[in-house]
Subunit: 159 residues, 2 copies
C-alpha cells in the first residue's frame, strides 16, 4: 500500500499532501468531484459526512458537514476557482468553526503507468492558521481518507 | 497624504498592503465593489481598465482587463469566497499571463475616527509566485491605484 506524505515546513503557511493510487486518473478525478463518491471516502471513519452542496464548476460553491458520534457538527465550505479538471482544480476552504480563516487548495492528478499521483497543496493566510490546522488532528483525517479512497477505487475497478 | 505600506517578508508567500483613506468605510467599500467606481481607480494611470464581469456575491466571478498604450491586454480574474462585506472580503486572484498561479486575497476595512484603514493580504501558493508578483512592477500599480482612489473618494465626498 502506498504511503501518504504530509509535508508542513516550519515557518511556512502550507501543507502539501501526496499519494499514489492504483487507479486511472479519470476515476480518481471522479472520486473527487462526484458527491456520491466523495461522501464514501472523505473524512475520518468515525465521522459521518453529509454533503450540503457540491457544484463542480467555475464559481460553484461546495459545503459539507461532518458529524461525530455525539452529534457535534463540523461544517466546511468554499468555492471553485476556474473550471475543475483532472490537471488542476483550485478551491477555497473554510472551517466554519474558525470563520474568516480561509485557505486556498489545489489538487493536481498525474497519471504514471496507469497509477495516479495525487498532490494537494493547502495554502493558509498565516503560519498560525496552518499550524492550527496541523494541531487539529488533520493528519488522522487525511490518512483515514486516503485509505478509504484506496478501498473505494479498488471496489469501483473490481465491482 | 497618507502613505501606502507594502510588506513582503523574505521567504514568505504574502504581500500585505495597508493605507488609511480620509473617507467613511461604507464609501471605501463601495469604491471596491461598484464596478462603475472601481474602474475609475484600480490599476496604474497609464493603463486603461475595462471590467468584463464583477459579480459581488458568494461564488460570484470577477474579471477585468488592463490595456496599455500599445494595445497589449492583461487579463485578471477570480471568484468571491463568501458574501463580501466591509468587514471582510475574500477572493481568489489569477493573472492570465501566468495561468495556474492562483492567489488568495483578503480585504478588511476598519473605520477609525471617520477615516478608513484598508488592509489587503495577498497569499500566493509559493514564495516564487509572490516574488514574481513583486518583480512584475506591482508596487507602481498599487501606489498609482491608491492615489487615484484617494482622489476619487475626495470627488465623491465633495461633489
Amino acid at each position: 500500500m502506498a504511503n501518504t506524505q504530509i509535508t508542513a515546513e516550519p515557518g511556512q503557511s502550507q501543507i502539501i499532501i501526496t499519494r499514489e493510487f492504483d487507479a486511472p486518473r479519470d476515476l480518481v478525478f471522479r472520486a473527487h468531484t462526484d458527491p456520491d463518491l466523495l461522501v464514501q471516502w472523505l473524512g475520518p471513519r468515525d465521522l459521518k459526512m453529509t454533503i450540503d452542496v457540491f457544484d463542480v464548476r467555475d464559481g460553484g460553491r461546495w459545503r459539507y458537514v461532518s458529524t461525530d458520534a455525539e452529534g457535534n457538527e463540523y461544517g466546511f465550505h468554499g468555492v471553485f476557482h476556474g473550471t475543475p479538471t483532472p490537471d488542476y482544480t483550485v478551491q477555497t476552504f473554510e472551517f466554519e468553526g474558525v470563520p474568516g480563516h480561509v485557505a486556498l487548495e489545489s489538487l493536481t492528478l498525474e497519471e504514471r503507468d496507469g497509477k495516479t499521483f495525487v498532490r494537494t497543496v493547502s495554502t493558509f493566510q498565516s503560519v498560525e492558521d496552518r499550524d492550527g490546522m496541523v494541531a487539529s488532528g488533520m493528519e488522522h483525517g487525511v490518512r483515514d481518507s486516503d485509505a478509504r479512497l484506496e478501498e473505494l477505487l479498488a471496489r469501483l475497478q473490481n465491482g
